[in-house]
């Protein structure tokens, strides 16, 4: 049996508990794991086909009115596969932050422009924090504590990051006071 792609497990995890259509899986990802594990239609639909062929999920016709619609439910094999994966130590830890990269090379710019990078980074984290906070009430309602735990971790992280940006901005200002910008 071939190993499944990492995205396959997001799909399995998302339909565990309640069957979902490809469209709903995408919506579920966008409303939860998106910030640390995204997935696009271009991955989800082919993945559902593969998982179906591998017997991990079954597609069930579930039209809404006259509109064709297939929801996928996880099989016993799929549940087993998901649990086996959950028990493996995590292997992927990636971060690609263009702001950090720009800050790293900021010596090529005057201090005032280095500060601009930090402000853009901070604004971004603040915006993400706002989105995450907006998701909180919904997560609180569910009985599953883990999505809420992860969400609150994300909020704490964005708060930390935004604060760090602020402190670094102050630090640059302190070492190049003559370059202060409004």
């Amino acid at each position: 049996m071939d190993e499944l792609s990492p995205t396959a497990y997001v799909v399995l995890g998302m339909i565990r508990g309640a069957p979902k259509s490809g469209y709903e899986i995408k919506a579920a990802v966008d409303g939860s794991t998106r910030f640390f594990w995204a997935a696009s239609y271009g991955q989800i639909y082919p993945e559902l086909k593969r998982l179906s062929e591998a017997g991990m999920v079954v597609g069930v016709e579930a039209p809404t009115g006259g509109r064709p619609r297939t929801v996928y439910e996880i099989t016993a094999d799929g549940e087993e596969e998901l649990r086996a994966w959950l028990r493996q130590p995590p292997r992927t830890y990636e971060m690609r932050d263009e702001g950090l990269l720009k800050l790293f090379f900021a010596a090529a710019l005057p201090p005032a422009e280095a500060i601009e990078i930090l402000r853009a980074m901070r604004a971004h984290r603040l915006a993400v924090g706002k989105q995450l906070r907006a998701m909180e009430p919904e997560a609180i309602e569910k009985e599953d504590p883990f999505p809420l735990m992860v969400l609150r971790g994300g909020i704490e992280f964005t708060d930390w990051f935004a604060d760090w940006c602020e402190r670094m901005e102050a630090q640059i200002l302190a070492s190049a006071p003559e370059k202060r910008s409004s």
Copy 2:
């Protein structure tokens, strides 16, 4: 003029100040930006060829003894391109953390195994923190303050993350005391 790939700017940034061979660029990335912006030989060498054709860098033969070796230096056009990019607001902010994803789905496991996920995540962050701290003395020596700022940000982040894992572990333990594992 076509837009450059994001990795092109890492290359430009890394050779700014001192010309480097492809091999040295890879080593520089691995010793600094790797944790938030990685690059492999499979990207670096073709990128150097493209940048050379675009006039952003020039290759200079610089053999070590009899061993052939080409170092690349940034041109005035390349410097300009790099600075123009630094002035654009960052667009890529990605994070792919398989540990967080597993924790998100941890309701599929007994609490003791959810704790295992957090322990693996914490161990990983602790290991990364150790590597980052080992890079600190070298970064302190350089006169450029930005790589050091970013490195210390990375250390603070891994410390925060490891601590969060510890707190979440305690939280699970508190809500499922009968499942306590040694």
